[in-house]
């Protein structure tokens, strides 16, 4: 049986998602505006005090969600990937808000020439850029999919966050 997930806005607090389990318990997740989550567990659906309340940071919630969703096969895959790649790494690097690279093309930025890191794709809404070209422009909120040597990443991240970008 598929149980119905109810979504409710809590003005000033965030959003509440609640559902009842097949075994008669009730679970509610409060997503606070500041990104933290709270997980309320009621042993029986009409209990008026929660059995447990768990406070989770953003990354913890994602991890728990992955485990619960059965998607947490990752460590093994990552291990194999690391073996296959050897010294090379593939990293997902979010563009920091306020990065000087925003609004510049990949060619302008010259990351490959300056750090050795190659940008192979750009993840963005609504449509990701696969096979990134020198003429593609970096936008706010982008995540760059990159290939490079591990040692080259600190310089790359610094450049992405602080510049200088372009002819400076």
């Amino acid at each position: 049986m598929h149980s119905e997930l109810r979504e409710t806005r809590l003005p000033g607090i965030g959003t509440k998602y609640a559902f009842e389990t097949a075994h008669g318990a009730r679970v509610a997740v409060i997503q606070h505006v500041d990104g933290t989550r709270e997980l309320y567990v009621f042993t029986r659906a009409d209990d008026d005090e929660p059995r447990a309340v768990l406070q989770l940071e953003d990354d913890e919630s994602r991890q728990l969600g992955a485990v619960l969703g059965g998607a947490y096969e990752r460590p093994k895959i990552v291990e194999e990937l690391e073996m296959a790649l050897g010294e090379l790494a593939i990293e997902w690097v979010p563009v920091p808000a306020g990065s000087p690279a925003i609004g510049h093309t990949l060619a302008d930025c010259g990351f490959r020439a300056r750090t050795g890191i190659t940008i192979i794709a750009i993840l963005r809404e609504p449509e990701p850029v696969t096979g990134a070209q020198p003429g593609d422009t970096i936008q706010e909120g982008d995540t760059l999919v990159t290939v490079g040597k591990l040692g080259q990443y600190p310089e790359f991240r610094r450049l992405l966050a602080e510049g200088p970008i372009g002819d400076a």
């Binding site: 409710t8 806005r9 809590l10 003005p11 000033g12 607090i13 509440k16 609640a18 009730r26 509610a28 409060i30 505006v33 709270e38 309320y40 009621f42 009409d46 008026d48 005090e49 929660p50 309340v53 808000a97 306020g98 706010e140």
Partner: protein, 396 residues
């Protein structure tokens, strides 16, 4: 206020706030109490800080930030989605509590503008105290929490309207009507602006380095406050509307994150500075009225919230929780009294009474309200049969 006094003040506020939160209480009454004790009025043993231009200015910034953040939460879409509890539950609460507040105001000030302000001050519960209680006492997953929050939103909207003319009304019928019209006009204009301005604001602010984004946002906020002030409205309504306009922009989240610290510091100082001006002696012969108002408030909020809960389809225990969560009064009661205290159309004696009343009334209700909230489930279990039995009873 000198730097050393400011340091002392902020340290005391931090200490008291921490102490209050240890006992599960809201920090607002703690800040008020600090102001009351350190201020120039009775008790005088600790009187070290005099209200001055600096304290007034700091308090003004406090009001501006408090209302700015409230405005940021208001968007038309969100209000519409607050749904079915908003209208009916909110109306029950409004009619009952505004009536009681007006009654107390009539006894205190006679049929006057001050009585209207008092009605609003007694009507509006504290979103800040209530929400903190809901989080602390782990009530967020409860179904009746939706009703509580909807009623709080309803109250804030009503009082935002009153706030618009609280600074200017009271000098006879037609000037008051003009003030009301001006306030409504300003709110309408700002709401209209919130429909088309955000796109342009986005275009400009989104491209600026974050430091300047901060400055321009602040300029807009203070500018709209000053504009409202110049129109003879209160700066509070200007700040609220600045928030409403920016609520629809894509940088809302960033603004909230960056200004949160400002709000917390200046709001604490605002409550403190308000505490400085509370003159317990000014209360004099209306002390009994305060006691009466507290009693009436507790009764009316419990009954109103209980009614709103039952009407919303909740059981008796849940409905009691709704009532208990509405007893605490706080920021808006204080802000109303503060704004009205600058209104020269209200007799000076009445203004001093309003300030003292609001301060002490918040001290008492914010403390009692939190205790009531904490105990409401236990009380509910003692008073009312389990909803499971209740259902079976109905079935038979």
């Amino acid at each position: 206020m000198t730097l050393s006094q400011l340091a002392l003040t902020v340290a005391i506020l931090g200490g008291l706030g921490l102490l209050a939160s240890r006992f599960g209480l809201s920090a607002i009454p703690a800040y008020l109490l600090a102001g009351l004790l350190l201020g120039p009025n009775e008790p005088r043993a600790l009187s070290v800080i005099e209200p001055s231009e600096v304290t007034t200015f700091v308090a003004e910034l406090g009001i501006i930030f408090l209302l700015f953040f409230l405005g940021l939460e208001f968007t038309l879409d969100r209000l519409l989605r607050s749904g079915r509890h908003l209208g009916l539950g909110g109306s029950i609460d409004l009619v009952l509590n505004a009536a009681i507040g007006f009654l107390v105001g009539l006894v205190a000030f006679g049929p006057s503008f001050a009585a209207v302000i008092l009605a609003a001050a007694v009507y509006v519960s504290s979103s800040a105290v209530s929400v903190k209680g809901l989080i602390d006492f782990r009530r967020l997953a409860d179904d009746e929490t939706d009703v509580i929050l909807a009623i709080l939103v309803f109250e804030d909207i009503v009082v935002a309207g009153v706030l618009g003319f609280a600074a200017a009304g009271g000098g006879g019928v037609s000037p008051t009507l003009i003030a009301v019209a001006k306030a409504l006009g300003f709110i309408t204009l700002a709401l209209a602006a919130s429909r088309f301005l955000p796109r342009w604001i986005d275009l400009v602010l989104d491209r600026l380095p974050s430091e300047f984004m901060l400055l321009f946002t602040f300029a807009l906020l203070v500018g709209m406050s000053a504009g409202a002030d110049a129109l003879g409205l209160s700066e509070a309504i200007g700040a609220l509307m600045a928030g409403v306009v920016l609520a629809e922009t894509s940088i809302r989240r960033e603004i909230e994150e960056r200004f949160l610290a400002f709000r917390d510091i200046f709001a604490a100082l605002f409550f403190f500075v308000f505490g400085l001006t509370i003159d317990v002696e000014a209360l004099g012969d209306i002390g009994w009225l305060l006691a009466l108002a507290v009693l009436l408030t507790i009764t009316a909020k419990l009954v109103g919230g209980y009614g709103a809960g039952l009407v919303g389809g909740f059981n008796k225990r849940q409905s009691l929780n709704v009532g208990a969560a509405l007893v605490a009064h706080g920021e808006f009661t204080i802000i109303l009294a503060q704004v009205a205290s600058d209104n020269t159309d209200i007799p000076a004696g009445d203004r001093a009474d309003l300030v003292a009343f609001a301060g002490l009334y918040v001290l008492v209700t914010a403390t009692l309200g939190v205790i009531l909230m904490k105990e409401s489930k236990r009380v509910g279990r003692m008073l009312f049969a389990s909803p499971r039995l209740e259902r079976t009873g109905n079935a038979l």
